[in-house]
Symmetry: C5
Subunit: 360 residues, 5 copies
């Protein structure tokens, strides 16, 4: 449940802009890394104190400050005040229950989105909040915990010939968002495989466990949908190119990213439809099974009840000596055999009836 | 039901603008409190008569008049005529069946919204109507009964260093709305916990009582949705900043409030989806249980009916003396044992059949 | 059904603008009443012939002509030609299958809407078509039959001090529409009470009759929805204030009326949701009941079938004299008692099994 | 099925604008009729060859050319080239799988819509494609087969005093569209009657046949919806009055037609809702019936199984002579009567239990 | 499943614009064919190396380069760099998981869409990605494998009199898109036939296999929908005519193509509705069948259980010698016959009861 609603009650009644960490603390100690580069040179270091970041602010090179671990609100506050970030943005960075959103503060653009990853025992999908703030020559990214999704971007920056080295901070921000969205496809692929497995299971041998799995998948889709839907508007507002912070050359990449987001949403909707279909199949296969159980019962009961009645009749103790009307069959020479004959006929009639009904 | 529709029939046929209290009377006597402040000073008092509020109107300081209890229409009318409030707004204040809305009367802005709180026996969510009117230097708030949601705002006002002391009446109005919306998260958290509890119950041991609870949760969500959906448009119309009463510095806060409202609505929709999923699970778990009952019946009946028939056969009274064709088995040396043998074979065949069908 | 579709076939093939009454004739004779007033004076009379209305047309005072009974197309045509009403508007007035709509013919505005009232045996909701035409100084209203919904407006007009006496024809038209919409709340309240009653019945003792009632309620909601939804657009187009016939002072009242309409629609949607929920509850309570029936059957059958088999065994007639292997138990000293003992053990085992399964 | 998708494969791979008849051939030989009129005179004739139409093109009078039977593509092509119709429009005329649409080719407006009529054995609703092309002084209409829907328009043209004689070609085109839409109401009325009949049947005696009929109705509604929905946009685009071919006086009539179209769509949606409701009712009435069957089975089995066991007990052959413990009851004076007494008590207890459960 | 989601994980973490083939390799070796034509002449050849295409670029004639097989990224890159195509477009061409889309790069327009064809064993519908890039005098099309859908276009080009020879590259691009969309109708026709077959099967003899087929059809519709829906926006953006690359004369053809696309979508939605309806029918026919099974069981059990009880009674061994109260019936003259009479009466009463209940 904690996936669906955070402990907001912590913030109720607080003044807006007050920086209170909401959510689970996912790593021990915050970690700050800086990459500073332009087309010609690159400098990369991990710093101990937040103050070490400040000199980079006024350099013309592009500076990427990445902060892993947002529970340390002191760091956030210091960076915020040095880079002149609005308190409400800072509040959103540390409140992990945010909906993906994009806000243009003129001097910088603030983007919140959700990074998805698989939970430990491979069962659940979890989300981590990633915030990106970018201005003319800096990008600051905040993650709840260390992750490897941004590593590919780091690699590309280290490669002196890559396009990213020639572009601005807006392109770097785009690259970060792009790597998050690319990662959605990996998650979707895994869910797609689960759904495929389920479909085979459904056809072969549905169990109550199957229902549980369908339900879990459905909840995952609700969660994914909640995390990804708002992203559409986020990327779209960036791709409209209304901010001066985003250069024209970057816009075509943002549009491409927008297409990817739509594709993710499309796939989520398709999966939702498929899971709904699976539930229908499950329910009717239960009905089918119950029908089969009923048939077996009915066939057995319908065959044996009448012949048991016949046997019951000749178990009656009417006194043949009191009257020749009383059960004379019992004294017939072939009475027993005739009775078996009748029983056989009844059984065959029944079987014929069931065959005609297509129950057998 | 009274939650869903108020006794509007009271007002049917009345002239518009006539001030008639619609809804339950939730407290004995109306209570009027005044907080008057600017950056430098603060004055707080509870007044007996509404006339005591009037002197504050023309002071340049910011005046917040809070009225708890709206059944006393005389107070509303006096305030209304002194502050020059439109009769239709006054009518809406006392008619607790209002839909959340925001109206710009140029000289003041009128906002109606719903405060949610848990009912007495922790079972139900109830709503109280809160109306806020704010002009250049005054805010008048109306509540159905005393509540503690606004206390945090009062605290912040009393703190001489807080931002609220430096901002205008529009910021105070925002702070009141914000405290109401923040409170929604507290309510949602509690519902989230209930849903979580239900999901476990569903998996472990669903009972007809479970169905009742799902139904109640569903109704709560319908109620919440009805109360919160229109708020989106209310806050949005404020955040568009078309009124001169709202300063530019406040707009960013209103936008933040708008994001919170969207988040509340998102969560409500997610909960609705989850509750629907729970109903599906419940229905199929009933089907599964009935299936299991059927299987037990079928297994028992299918095993015993044939062997009872066998016993019935040898309970027949055919006269062995009349003919050697009549039930010679009864006189066989091992007839009884052979019969038991046949019974055993039948039972084993049946069990094998059921095992193959995976019913056992 | 006649509620849902009128006998339009009557008009198929006719020229547009031809005035043909479509719908049931709901009163014997049409009745024409005139109220003519301004701030200073008021004149009220019932007239025999439509021509008596004409002198009022050119007087500067506000004239309200109310016509009860629209089957008399001659009256409609005369009024239409004297007040210069477009033939299509006249056609719509007498065709009671109209959808609520609003048309601005520049010299006058034409509004059609539905008045709802309860059917005779308190069971059904029925609709009556009300048309209102208003120009600079006249209002003409058409009803299918006499009703008391407009009486409150008449009362207010008679009261010399009421606001309505000081306002124009547009305000009078607003007052008529307002009284119709106010009446919707009365109808909704009654439906709300029925739904409340149903919910209790559902929980306590659902019967097939309950299903029938849910179905009827559902149909009522479809009908209400169809009648009220288009009203939203009608009132909105009036409240936008694009016509010169509507004064600025009236606009705020129309906006208020718009809010009321939204509230009615909201409530209808909420009721629809609740009724859908009730159907779900009903269906699962049927499933639950069938489950319970199955359990009783299964318990009884499962307990008695095995012990009947035991009794059947010792009813077999194997000849103990033919061999000491044949049913020696029958001659044991405690054979009968032992058999009862076995029966008891079987029964207890079964009961234990059911208790473990939580069927008892 | 052919109702839902035409044999488009015939046209796949053809050049656009190639005129290929798609659909069933509904009459033997195409029939061309011409009505040429203005306010003063009228001329009406049926022509053998399409060339006879051409002289009317340049006359100032209004010419209506009606072509019944569109399988003769040669006629269509000739008319098309003489009246300078775009090949794509001609292609659409003969391709009966068109969606209703309206295209403005500046010199003329091209409208495609569906005429509905009942199938032969009163069971099904079928659609015929009607195309109308109108320019400044001509209207050309194409029908798949002769029909009587346009006869009412012909009658009105013949009447020298009718409005249609004074208006232009745009009004004539309107009149044709109007007669098609009016005809929808006739079809809807018939469906409405079927639905009404079904509802009664549902309550009184639902059979599997009922389900089949509901299903057929549902399919009819899907078909109707598909045929009528796009019409809304078609009429709306005409009523916006952006074309110079449509005079201002005709616009009010087109708006009225638009209202009728909305009304048709509204009714279709209402019927869809009602049919869905009927399916729900049907399903729960099946559940109810199965419940009742189960109850009868359970009551009979539950009453007789225990007493059959009692009878079974005293059918056992324990030897009373071997021991006085063995079934002494058999020798009691009132043993038999006591047994009957016990049986009676058991039966009464059972009946009491069932009465308490409200199964009886 | 691979139909629904491609192996995107291959691209996650790569730089945007990197050209990586995503999807199955559907043919051995890429094949490049060139058709170069204007109104007067035509030249057609298959080339071995991509460089052979380059001379055509600067000729004023219209050049159509068709590439079958996109797994050879080298070819794509060479063409891309020579024709100055944006890397992101090239990336999209080889990534077969694209959503249909249209992008205007000013110097050329880039369109991606899905070609549908039936899978090998006639069971499934599969999609192939087709990309079309067209500039002022060239069209480049990319297909995953050789197909015959474009052959009709080739034929038309070869025909010196066809319209296509007189029009520009935009018309050629339109012709390619049109042939893809036309092909959708062929696919829909086949699905329509399957649905029709299913409907008959449903009525006559539904089996669990039927359910499987309905489910497969439903999945196909989800797949089709996903492939075709976005096309609407693609064609619409072309038909709006905002690009200078599209001439006015082509626009009317694009509008026609847009209508066809809407028609395809309409048909898909209709099929979805029909398949949903079939699922409902299937489920209720299962319920009906189970009901019938229950009835047979109940009738047999209800008739035989009471009469078996009667037989059981007279199988009891109460000692008639111990008392004359003990089963005197056994010694009656007509005891046996009377018993049969009672049995007969019970059976007839039961049958009458069932007939009244309409179970027989």
């Amino acid at each position: 449940m904690s996936k669906f609603i955070k402990k907001f009650s912590k913030t109720a009644g607080r003044a807006p802009g007050e920086i209170v960490h909401v959510g689970a603390r996912k790593m021990e100690k915050s970690k700050i890394t800086i990459i500073d580069y332009d087309a010609g040179q690159i400098q990369e270091k991990e710093v101990k104190t937040v103050e070490e970041c400040f000199p980079f602010k006024d350099k013309p090179t592009i500076t990427w400050i990445n902060i892993d671990g947002i529970h340390n609100t002191e760091i956030i506050e210091k960076i915020g005040s040095y880079f002149d970030i609005h308190p409400l943005a800072l509040e959103d960075i540390v409140n992990t229950g945010q909906r993906p959103k994009c806000e243009d503060f003129e001097k910088y653009i603030f983007v919140v989105l959700k990074m998805l990853y698989e939970g430990k025992n491979n069962a659940d999908i979890e989300a981590e909040q990633v915030s990106v703030i970018f201005g003319p020559n800096f990008v600051i990214s905040f993650q709840e915990k260390e992750g490897d999704v941004f590593n590919a971007v780091r690699e590309r920056i280290r490669n002196a010939k890559s396009r990213i080295r020639k572009m601005g901070a807006d392109y770097l921000a785009y690259a970060l968002l792009d790597s998050v969205v690319d990662n959605y496809f990996v998650i979707l692929e895994k869910i797609g495989e689960k759904i495929e497995g389920m479909e085979e299971e459904l056809v072969k041998n549905p169990t109550p466990q199957t229902l549980q799995t369908i339900h879990t998948l459905k909840r995952e889709m609700i969660f994914l949908r909640k995390s990804v839907w708002p992203l559409r508007e986020v990327i779209n507002s960036l791709a409209r190119g209304e901010s001066e912070l985003i250069q024209a050359t970057t816009l075509v990449y943002l549009k491409d990213l927008y297409d990817h987001t739509i594709q993710v949403i499309d796939t989520i909707e398709t999966f939702r439809d498929m899971i709904s279909g699976m539930l229908d199949i499950y329910l009717s296969s239960i009905s089918n099974k119950m029908n089969e159980v009923m048939k077996v019962l009915t066939i057995i009961a319908t065959i044996f009840i009448p012949i048991t009645f016949i046997a019951g009749i000749y178990g009656m103790n009417f006194n043949p000596e009191a009257s020749s009307w009383n059960m004379p069959e019992l004294n017939w020479r072939y009475g027993y055999l005739i009775t078996w004959g009748i029983i056989l006929v009844v059984v065959l009639l029944m079987l014929g009836y069931f065959r005609r009904k297509k129950w057998l």
